[in-house]
């Protein structure tokens, strides 16, 4: 099928498409991972975005459903150089094409993705529209313009679409730690990592109240990843005030959007990066250890937290080695910490997996402290 991509700066790219018949707009971001397209397209954080894969071949291993990061494809669409129509992997259940059709999504391929990548790198993220129905530039321009206002998709959108995963985990009852998870569009990988460390994650929507949380008497709080502008989400909801009430009470851990919200809850601000970090090879330096340790991390964010005026509240624990951006913080007095990258990987290296253990340690310490309080 012929397809077209129109960017907000007027750039037109012709290619072909696989998957469903569709017309979709979104923010164009590029991801440089060479593996893990199944995880990427199903990562809820990509809601509202069209993801360009820089690696040449996509679809080689099909879709196996085991590696999905959520129940369905969240990226609006995907763009790549080449797509394999046959999957070559013993776990594959369907081809990428079949999956896209089932998800009613499409992939644009056969285009110069390096050109697109460099454009985004130089000009920042751009909005764009992909269509395999309408090839009229004027009409597409109009559609793109009118879609711009609607493109601020975040957790609100996830719940609006009735994809709520709230309070449903029952299989982990015998686990040691009860974790209240703020689900802003959480990746399955995070839940798996928590469960693997003996946690019972109980999911709450972004608009839950502090009382809902307190009611279950959790050992700790987890703030998940999710799509969109954190400041926008803070505006759209009462999440910051809920967090402000809860953070002093429980050991807390945040990843990506969750990390940004923790910062916002203490008064810091977020900034938008020019084209974000969407990769699985980003080096992050650990600052809270003596040796010179660098982690290869999975990253997927367009916003970063700026705590330059809040260094009396937070210690910087991790910094991005390439551009020096903030990658991890820990509260100086409270057992509250967060990272900008994805220690659960999926896709990506598992170098940062230990970070989940720090959360467990915090919950343990807190338990012992409470015990001491009770004993005293």
């Amino acid at each position: 099928m012929q397809a077209i991509l129109l960017l907000e700066d007027g750039t037109v790219v012709h290619g072909q498409s696989l998957g469903a018949t569709c017309e979709v707009s979104g923010e164009i971001v590029f991801n440089t991972a060479m593996t893990g397209y199944e995880e990427v397209i199903s990562d809820p954080s990509y809601l509202g975005q069209i993801v360009v894969f820089t690696t040449s071949h996509i679809g080689n291993t099909g879709i196996n459903y085991q590696d999905l990061e959520s129940s369905h494809m969240h990226a609006e669409a995907m763009i790549c150089k080449e797509i394999s129509q046959i999957p070559d992997n013993y776990r594959a259940k369907v081809s990428l094409d079949e999956y896209l059709k089932k998800q009613n999504k499409c992939a644009l391929f056969g285009i110069d993705t390096r050109f697109l990548t460099q454009k985004i790198r130089n000009e920042g993220c751009l909005k764009g529209i992909i269509s395999n129905i309408d090839f009229d530039i004027k009409s597409l321009t109009k559609k793109l313009d009118s879609s711009k206002a609607l493109n601020h998709k975040n957790a609100v959108e996830i719940y609006k679409n009735n994809n709520v995963k709230s309070i449903k985990n029952t299989s982990n009852k015998n686990k040691k730690y009860k974790v209240a998870v703020f689900d802003f569009g959480i990746k399955q990988g995070i839940l798996n990592s928590l469960v693997a460390l003996n946690c019972d994650p109980i999911l709450f929507p972004y608009d839950c109240s502090a009382e809902d949380i307190k009611a279950i008497q959790p050992d700790g709080l987890f703030f998940s990843n999710g799509p969109g502008d954190p400041a926008q989400l803070a505006n759209d909801s009462k999440i910051l005030s809920v967090m402000q009430e809860l953070l002093p009470l429980f050991p807390s851990f945040g990843i990506c959007l969750g990390h940004q919200l923790i910062g916002l809850a203490f008064g810091a601000k977020t900034k938008k990066l020019n084209f974000g970090h969407h990769a699985i090879n980003h080096p992050v330096k650990i600052l809270d250890r003596s040796e010179s340790k660098v982690l290869m991390t999975s990253q997927n964010h367009n916003y970063i937290l700026d705590i330059s005026e809040f260094e009396d509240i937070f210690n910087v624990t991790h910094v991005h080695l390439n551009d020096g951006t903030l990658a991890g913080i820990r509260h100086k007095n409270l057992p509250v910490f967060s990272v900008q990258f994805h220690p659960e990987a999926n896709p990506g290296p598992r170098d940062a997996e230990y970070i989940f253990k720090e959360f467990i340690n915090d919950m343990n310490k807190n338990r012992n402290k409470n015990k001491d309080v009770i004993n005293a």
Binding site: D88, D112, F115, I280, N281, E291, K293, D351
Partner: protein
């Protein structure tokens, strides 16, 4: 972390001569390491026996020793230099083995030399298969079932516990010598014997077969803080069962999900940590069962390797350079990524293109060989190609082999379905051609997968190419823009498109212009475009955007030498690198084009700009059009660029140095013959023939024996000496497999003549000859296969003068600018000219090292207009006081079925050099370096007929009287088994098998003995002069303390 400050002087051991399984990649890694260490302020001492390396240049290390790579010699150097540390990971398996020997014999401790980069215990753990397996298993990972055995009994017992097919391997060998796959007991017995004899330790390994599994390799780096990165994964297109060096390989990994890939990564990280890999680059191989994902760890190498060179070129991440810096204590995050300048070396490269490596085999050189590929590596070189897709890179990789291939091609045979089914089941160099045949016959992907084990994803890509071909075929003259553009994107060459659409190449070129389809160049940037890169490193493809930054500088393009092959190896890369340096010194921009990933020239630090592209007309002309350089150098890369001369000149580009017409003159025997006659220079009588009848006429005119060969070849390919008419007919019938449009050359064969070589530089007015080289072996043995000595030791002053005069006459007459190589023969006290090559030659590095005159660099200066009197041509006094020898190294051990005879066709693959003030010591060290065994007593076995025995005996007797016996095989009637035992037992120290150029097969037993001797590193000598030389070396060995 601070650098190590307790060390100042570091020893690096090179990898010695080029061999199968050990190409020029270690010159690349060694050179990078030396330069990196010197950058950091350390003093570097280097030892290597291979003169044709950049690493043995004075500019690379502080102190260079071109000496035998033996424990004894290295100890001497350590004693002399007292280095503080040794970096043993840069010299391949050879370097690592020597390091282990030094360690085990206590020399490192004795001389207080600290090992950096790797610990001896780590090497032990990695190389001891049993220990490695138990370590891997203890960490919770899977391995191949099997074990090491040290007796045949144990082997049989183990075989009963496992099931066939079984893999048998010798331990501690290069490229898997002495191994094989046994499908039944019979084969098992044979292979076990072979493995025991090849193994340097008395152990062999026997394992369950995982043939047909997917094969992967990860190139990784670790620093002393424990930081770990994977530079890139490689996937083998050929499944397990074919040595990685003989497999078509691709990067990045194509058929792994992230879960599987991360499992391999995590496993590598854990193993490297637990095995104690200190710092630097290493690789680890995995196999995955395609049916159920069972993943096993195959092996790891705690050092840089052929694949780390490949991955460095594929990603732009300089593994050896970074490894060296890690070894002296820096950590990854402290080292800048010199490609982006904004990031550090602590990251994992990501690429937005595909690279495909295809090996190059020269099986036809060892004509007894069946061409079957297995776990023993047999390829002699490789071509690497980049593309934006697998198809693009795959097609280009075939072209890069320079075997007159336009892209992926069929076998051009009409096989039946049955025949193809058989052919597809046996891996051979032609496998991919058979796959194409099979697609043409309508085989399905599933069926081809069943037969070959090649992954369906790859077959799907190949099927798409077939589909593309069909579209082209159907479109005929009506090719639309989109069809043509797609074909170019998929890597089709203009010639392929022309053939498929039944058009001329010119028509296709015009269509491309008409549709404004232009090649685009993409940058190799380690980061898939995420950061703005500074790398001047590009490949060609067809897309929308061109990344290329074209400078306005005065640019010189230097054409490289392509994949290694017999007759064209690292020596030409050496010259290319020197040409680059000369170009830069004179203020020009140096642009290099090459397709051989092993080389120093394709290190993007070397030139100002690098293109990794095949050395074929279309790709080269596209780059020249893109760059519009001031001039092109074609005389440094051997025969490959020379073949492009005509096209380059016709397109209007300026060839700097000797022009195309002069090259043609030297290569055309008739024109050249006229020049010789005009200058009254003696040459063997000759003629050319297009058919057998002509040839008989010529031979009768000039008298037998005659030397026959096709024109326009390198390395004496297809050459033979024939003694009578029936042999001549048989040559035309059987031996001649060449382009029939080119004539066959027939020369009078000068029996027992002594050969001399000259590499000269000519500036159009004057010439400079640094040295005359004298061959040990008599004329008739290819110059590349005979040992040669500087200075000429048996030439009279009168004849030296003659050679100088003739050289000047020829150089001027051929209007030579730059390098020229002339081969002379002294026959009945007259000087004859045998051959002229108006280009750099194999011996240029040797001459340069012996005289300390950088010949290639000087030649490049001359090509750029300098005169000889402006160059430094003063040979230092200490060079004039010593003897130097270059000794060839043969890959016969890898071809156990081939009778190791020498002749006019070149078969050696590498070379070593030795120098000494003592001629005898020079010989001794030369043979030692070449890997031959020298003994203090034993038997010299004569295999020739009785008529010639006296000459040989006299030579033997005049040199080796004591402790040695001279025995004639035909006279004493030893049993074959007895001889073999004596060879194995080192009782026989030399075998004399007088030259027999006859095409007809050698005597069966003689052949058997020779083959067996080669496996035990016992020399098989065929001429009086070589027997004399080896006898002197042996004598020297007996006399030294």
């Amino acid at each position: 972390m601070p650098k190590l400050i307790d060390i100042k002087k570091i020893l690096i051991i090179g990898s010695g001569p080029i061999q199968i399984g050990q190409g020029c990649e270690f010159d690349y890694s060694g050179t990078q390491a030396c330069l990196a260490l010197r950058d950091e302020g350390y003093e570097v001492v280097l030892i290597n026996s291979n003169p044709a390396t950049i690493m043995t240049d004075k500019e690379t290390a502080d102190k260079v020793y071109i000496e035998p790579l033996t424990h004894e010699f290295i100890c001497k150097i350590i004693e002399l230099e007292r280095p503080d540390a040794i970096l043993p990971t840069m010299g391949g398996q050879v370097g690592l083995n020597l390091f282990m020997e030094l360690h085990k014999k206590g020399d490192l401790e004795k001389y207080k030399v600290k090992a950096i980069g790797v610990k001896a215990e780590t090497v032990d753990k990695a190389e001891d298969r049993r220990e490695f397996k138990s370590l891997v298993t203890s960490l919770g990972y899977d391995v191949v079932r099997g074990d090491l055995v040290s007796t045949k009994e144990q082997a049989r017992k183990l075989a009963q516990e496992l099931s066939y097919p079984l893999i048998i391997r010798a331990s501690f060998t290069l490229g898997g010598t002495g191994g094989g796959i046994a499908f039944d007991e019979n084969e098992f017995e044979k292979l076990v014997d072979a493995a025991f004899s090849a193994s340097e330790h008395a152990e062999i390994s026997i394992e369950e077969s995982i043939i047909g599994w997917k094969e992967y390799e990860l190139e990784v780096m670790r620093d002393r803080a424990g930081n770990f990165v994977v530079i890139c994964g490689i996937e083998n297109v050929n499944p397990m069962g074919v040595h990685t060096g003989d497999s078509v390989t691709v990067a990045p990994c194509m058929t792994l999900t992230d879960k599987e890939y991360q499992k391999l990564r995590e496993c590598s990280k854990v193993i490297f940590k637990e095995i104690g890999m200190e710092t630097g680059g290493a690789n680890i191989q995995f196999a995955i069962n395609p049916d159920n994902g069972r993943t096993v760890v195959i092996e790891m190498n705690p050092r840089v390797s052929r694949s780390s060179a490949l991955v460095s070129k594929a990603t732009g991440y300089p593994i050896a350079r970074i490894s060296a810096k890690l070894a002296i204590g820096l950590t990854l995050d402290e080292i800048k990524n010199e490609i982006t300048n904004v990031t550090s070396a602590a990251f994992e490269p990501t690429i937005d293109y595909v690279v495909v490596k295809i090996p190059r085999w020269d099986f036809d050189k060892y004509n007894d060989v069946d061409g079957k590929l297995g776990i023993q590596m047999k390829s002699v070189g490789e071509g690497l190609a980049f593309g934006r897709s697998f198809k693009d890179a795959f097609q280009k990789a075939w072209r890069s082999l320079e075997k007159n291939i336009d892209g992926w091609q069929n076998s051009k045979n009409k096989f039946s379905v049955n025949e193809l089914e058989n052919l597809l089941q046996t891996p051979t160099p032609a496998l991919f051609s058979y796959i194409k045949d099979a697609f043409y016959l309508g085989f399905s992907i599933d069926k081809i997968y069943e037969l070959t084990g090649i992954g369906k994803w790859f077959l799907y890509q190949l099927q798409e190419l077939i589909h593309e071909e069909n579209i082209l075929t159907q479109s005929n003259s009506e090719i639309s823009r989109s069809i043509l553009f797609q074909a170019k994107k998929d890597g089709f060459s203009n010639k392929q498109i022309a053939n498929l659409t039944k058009n001329s190449i010119l028509k296709i070129e015009n269509l491309l212009k008409e549709f404004s389809i232009k090649p685009t160049f993409k940058m190799v940037d380690t980061c898939a475009g995420e950061f703005e890169a500074q790398t001047p490193y590009y490949f060609k493809t067809y897309e929308e955007q061109n990344d290329n930054r074209i400078s306005n500088n005065k640019k010189i393009v230097i054409l490289g030498s392509g994949p290694n092959r017999i007759g064209q190896g690292v020596e030409f890369d050496y010259s290319c690198v020197h040409a680059v340096k000369a170009v830069q010194e004179l203020g020009y921009e140096a642009i290099l084009i090459n397709s051989n990933p092993e080389t120093v020239s394709t290190d993007f630090y070397i030139s100002d700009k690098l293109y990794m592209e095949p050395l074929v007309e279309e790709d080269i002309l596209d780059i020249l059009t893109e760059e519009n350089p001031y001039g092109v150098f074609i005389q440094f890369g051997g025969q490959s660029p020379l073949k492009l001369a005509k096209a380059i000149e016709q397109k209007g580009f300026r060839i700097l140095g000797t022009s195309y017409s002069a090259i043609e003159l030297a290569e055309d025997r008739n024109l050249f013959g006229k020049i010789l006659t005009k200058l009254s220079i003696k040459a063997p009588a000759f003629g050319t023939a297009m058919c057998a009848e002509d040839a008989i006429g010529v031979a009768n005119r000039i008298n037998y024996p005659v030397l026959v060969r096709p024109s326009f070849v390198l390395g004496g390919k297809g050459m033979a000496v024939v003694f009578n008419e029936s042999e001549l007919l048989s040559y035309f019938k059987n031996a001649l497999k060449i382009d029939s449009s080119k004539p066959v050359l027939i020369d009078k064969y000068l029996e027992n003549a002594i050969e001399f070589d000259v590499d000269l530089i000519c500036d159009g007015e004057n010439i400079f000859i640094p040295a005359i080289m004298e061959h040990i072996e008599e004329a008739g043995i290819h110059s590349g296969d005979s040992s040669c000595v500087i200075p000429s030791y048996s030439l009279s002053q009168n004849n030296i003068d003659k050679i100088n005069i003739i050289s000047k006459m020829l150089a001027l007459e051929l209007k030579t600018i730059g390098l020229m190589n002339i081969q002379f023969a002294l026959y009945q006290n007259e000087i004859y000219v045998l051959e002229v090559n108006p280009r750099s030659s194999r011996s240029v590095p040797f001459v340069s090292k012996a005289t300390e005159i950088p010949m290639a660099k000087n030649a490049a200066f001359v090509c750029l207009g300098k005169k000889i009197n402006e160059l430094n041509t003063n040979i230092p006094q200490h060079c004039l006081n010593k003897f130097n020898i270059k000794v060839p190294v043969f890959p016969f051990q890898k071809f156990p079925d081939f009778t190791p005879v020498l002749g006019p066709e070149m078969r050696s693959i590498g070379e070593v050099m030795s120098s000494s003030h003592d001629f005898n010591e020079m010989l001794y060290k030369g043979y030692l370096s070449a890997g031959l065994k020298l003994n203090k007593s034993g038997i010299v076995l004569y295999l020739g007929d009785e008529s010639k025995i006296e000459n040989y005996f006299n030579i033997f007797h005049s040199i080796l009287k004591d402790n040695f016996d001279f025995i004639s095989y035909s006279k004493f009637k030893f049993k074959l088994e007895e001889i073999k035992y004596k060879i194995k037992n080192q009782e026989i120290i030399m075998i004399i098998s007088p030259l027999n150029f006859r095409i007809s097969d050698n005597n069966c037993e003689v052949s058997e003995i020779s083959k067996y001797a080669i496996q035990y590193k016992i020399p098989v000598l065929s001429t009086l002069r070589s027997v004399k030389a080896f006898s002197i070396a042996t004598l020297y060995n007996t006399m030294r303390s």
